[in-house]
């Protein structure tokens, strides 16, 4: 934390300056700079993405044939459990909040860093440790009850299940700290004039996500702690034979994990809301609607958890309100979809790779949202619960939604991270391979599910073989697309075309400073006069005049 020494800092706390650390380790490994920490989150998250992706390919390879045969059924159970856990907690959440959140929103609100840089360092370093713990549970008998780990199955699993609980608990601690950090930063460190109604929409998305990280994650921590205590010390919470209740786990787990679904999608909404107006050269349609609907989604997210439990023996008088509330959450989400579509309407659309992913996001997320409405209806849910229809639904939301958002963000903000552009041709190959592979993999799962193919099975009825094989082969196409992406990132970081400060003619604050930005972000904290999205107007900032000349920032002479 900052000491109380007298300090040169125009604009109070928003502008307080700390010394730039020297040496590779302090600068890039144990860094307190939010931009470096953001990049660290992205790199670590993508490493876990590769591991979890290999597990996904293991699943699909197993399902090539009706009688399986690639791995044993026991191993198969471990593989899908770790695949799900890793994708949710080690990939999507850290990349979207820790990665893009850290990297972008302090720049967008005109802050020099987050409120608690050292806390930020701590929350990052908890994350890879927890990730290694999660994957190491393979060595001691990984959990086998899926990413939700319902008791009593999870109570009987091998020691790896306790390791799993401990690892997720740690990720939760990391998320909670990040959430606290983000809320305080967004409340206290905005540049002068950056009122809430002038914040870029990505900041709004992070602002809606941060309380979810803070509150929902703690609720999950309680559930995980209880599971851990029960497994290690035999304290009965969930074991029905000792008076506990297995449904209690579902309540505690979903009270977190439903809001977590919005942790995984709201920042992606934010990314899309930045990419669309920039490449359509039009102000975003319904700025306030998009901003407030994020808050509405975050709030309503806490009231719908029991829709995951329609088949768990919930009393009928409870099913109805949860069904209606779940339908209701479709309204703010629909508002966003309409606003984005209206933004595109009549715009001068530049089909860059980022824009392609953003448009792909709208298409796929809408599909996932519609099947979500299906599943919210109790009678339909009773029919398809535990089938591949559910698998199709959440992959459309999480891959077609969150991951497409992540890719859009990568292509959009890569210049800000590295000073270089990602290769557009490779980017488009990545997009088409991924988009086609994705639909080939998950679209057939809808009808597999409707026809009754259950989830979590290592072998299945031969009548489902054709579409499973189709899905598996498509998943290899997706993986090929990912290879192109990783090649692109690695080669472009080194040899890519130099981007300059503002390659996309963006109008938010992060584009007004050099790429990559100086340690202090801004030489002088700018003043903000209006929304960043009015493309026909002059830029609404003052005090950015000498940001782009290359002399070190004003107070950097201090060290």
């Amino acid at each position: 934390m900052a000491t109380h020494a007298p300090v040169a800092h125009p604009g109070g706390i928003a502008g307080h300056i700390h010394q730039e650390p020297q040496g590779f380790v302090r600068r890039y490994v144990f860094s307190i700079d939010h931009k470096i920490i953001g990049i660290q989150y992205l790199i670590t998250g993508f490493v876990f993405f590769i591991l979890a992706g290999l597990l996904a390919e293991t699943i699909r390879t197993q399902l090539l044939n009706a009688n399986g045969g690639f791995v044993s059924p026991e191993t198969y159970n471990e593989v899908y459990s770790i695949h799900g856990s890793a994708m949710v907690w080690l990939v999507v959440i850290p990349i979207l909040t820790g990665g893009f959140g850290n990297l972008v929103f302090p720049l967008q609100i005109g802050a020099r860093d987050v409120a608690f840089p050292w806390l930020n360092l701590l929350s990052f370093w908890i994350f890879p440790v927890a990730g290694l713990m999660l994957f190491s549970s393979f060595l001691m008998g990984a959990p086998t009850a899926g990413w939700t780990e319902y008791p009593p199955v999870s109570l009987q699993g091998a020691a790896g299940t306790s390791m799993w609980a401990a690892a997720i608990f740690l990720v939760g601690v990391s998320s909670t700290l990040t959430g606290i950090n983000f809320v305080v930063t967004l409340l206290k460190m905005r540049a002068p004039g950056m009122t809430f109604t002038r914040m870029p929409l990505f900041c709004w998305a992070q602002f809606a996500t941060a309380p979810l990280l803070m509150i929902a994650t703690t609720a999950l921590a309680a559930a995980l702690a209880a599971l851990f205590i029960e497994r290690q010390f035999g304290v009965p919470f969930f074991d029905p034979t000792k008076g506990g209740s297995a449904v209690l786990w579902q309540h505690m787990f979903w009270f977190y994990s439903h809001p977590a679904v919005y942790i995984m999608i709201l920042p992606a909404f934010g990314i899309i809301s930045e990419v669309l107006p920039t490449f359509a050269r039009k102000p975003i349609f319904g700025y306030k609607l998009i901003a407030f609907s994020s808050m509405a989604i975050a709030l309503a997210g806490f009231m719908v958890w029991a829709h995951h439990m329609f088949t768990s023996g919930l009393a009928p008088y409870l099913q109805l309100p949860f069904m209606i509330l779940t339908f209701a959450i479709g309204v703010p989400t629909g508002i966003k979809i309409f606003s984005w579509t209206a933004t595109l309407w009549g715009g001068k659309i530049h089909l860059t790779t980022a824009m392609l992913f953003a448009i792909g996001f709208i298409a796929l997320f809408t599909c996932g949202g519609i099947t979500g409405i299906f599943l919210a209806a109790v009678p339909y849910d009773l029919d398809v619960h535990g089938t591949y229809f559910v698998v199709a639904h959440f992959h459309y939301v999480l891959v077609g939604g969150s991951m497409m958002g992540v890719f859009a963000g990568m292509y959009y903000w890569f210049p800000k991270m590295s000073g270089r552009l990602l290769n557009e041709t490779l980017g488009k190959i990545h997009f088409w391979l991924f988009f086609i592979g994705f639909n080939g993999t998950f679209l057939p799962m809808h009808w597999l599910g409707v026809e009754g193919m259950p989830r979590w099975v290592a072998s299945y009825d031969p009548q489902f073989e054709f579409w499973n094989r189709f899905a598996s082969i498509s998943s290899y196409v997706m993986a090929l697309g990912m290879l192109v992406f990783f090649y692109n990132v690695i080669s472009s970081a080194r040899f890519g075309k130099r981007s300059g400060p503002n390659p996309w003619n963006g109008r938010t604050l992060e584009w007004m400073i050099p790429s990559p930005p100086h340690y202090y972000n801004f030489k002088n904290i700018p003043t903000v006069y209006g929304l960043p999205y009015d493309f026909s107007h002059p830029l609404p900032y003052k005090g950015l005049e000498d940001e782009l000349n290359d002399s070190p920032p004003a107070a950097a002479g201090a060290h």
């Binding site: 109070g12 307080h16 309540h251």
Partner: protein, 206 residues
């Protein structure tokens, strides 16, 4: 972190106190948010307890004796009293009565430790005489010892927190203007108090 302490030409240098105030506000907000998420942790377990309690076998479950309510009530008085003394400690610090502040702080620590002692006595009684344990007494043992134990741990941390404050104050760390640590300690102590009101009501009164 280290703050660049050399004013640079042309850059406006603000009063250190103003910066201190801003940093204090920042930390206070962060600390409050941390307490809120801690509240959620307790709420989850409280929810779990109420859920298990209402899952249909009557309460207390067969074989579990009534808790010693009067003893727990007297013990709670210690904790609530310490909330009051902590309040006066902070007030006296604000009004620059150093001696009174120290006395109230010491009283708070003693009362807090007393509460922990009482809880220890209660636990010993339950475990040794009534044979109620954490893992062997069904959902009663599970929820009672987990929740009160979690709270006891928070009180324990609080006692250490306040002891550190006491030593820092004796060493003159805090001044009339700069006392973020004391504010945080007071907040934390009140938080622990409020949680106990809830736990006492749901375990002993209803």
């Amino acid at each position: 972190m280290a703050v660049a302490s050399v004013p640079h030409g042309g850059v406006h240098v603000e009063q250190p106190d103003q910066l201190y105030n801003e940093i204090r506000d920042l930390r206070l907000q962060g600390f409050l948010l941390a307490l809120i998420s801690d509240c959620v942790l307790f709420s989850s377990f409280v929810f779990a307890y109420l859920y298990l309690r209402n899952s249909g076998q009557g309460w207390p479950p067969p074989g579990i004796p009534r808790l010693d309510v009067p003893f727990a009530a007297w013990n709670s008085v210690l904790l609530f009293g310490s909330g009051a003394t902590m309040h006066y400690a902070l007030e006296n610090h604000k009004h620059n009565n150093f001696m009174k502040y120290m006395l109230f702080l010491i009283a708070t620590i003693i009362l807090g430790a007393g509460f922990l002692g009482g809880q220890g006595y209660e636990y010993t009684h339950l475990i040794v005489s009534e044979h109620i344990t954490w893992s062997g007494s069904g959902i009663f043992g599970a929820s009672f010892f987990t929740l009160t134990g979690m709270h006891g741990f928070h009180v324990f941390v609080g006692v250490i927190f306040l002891t550190v404050l006491l030593m820092q104050s004796a060493a003159g760390v805090y001044t009339r203007e700069k006392f973020f640590g004391i504010t945080a300690g007071t907040l934390y102590w009140h938080f622990v108090d409020v949680i106990w009101v809830l736990l006492f009501s749901i375990f002993y009164l209803i």
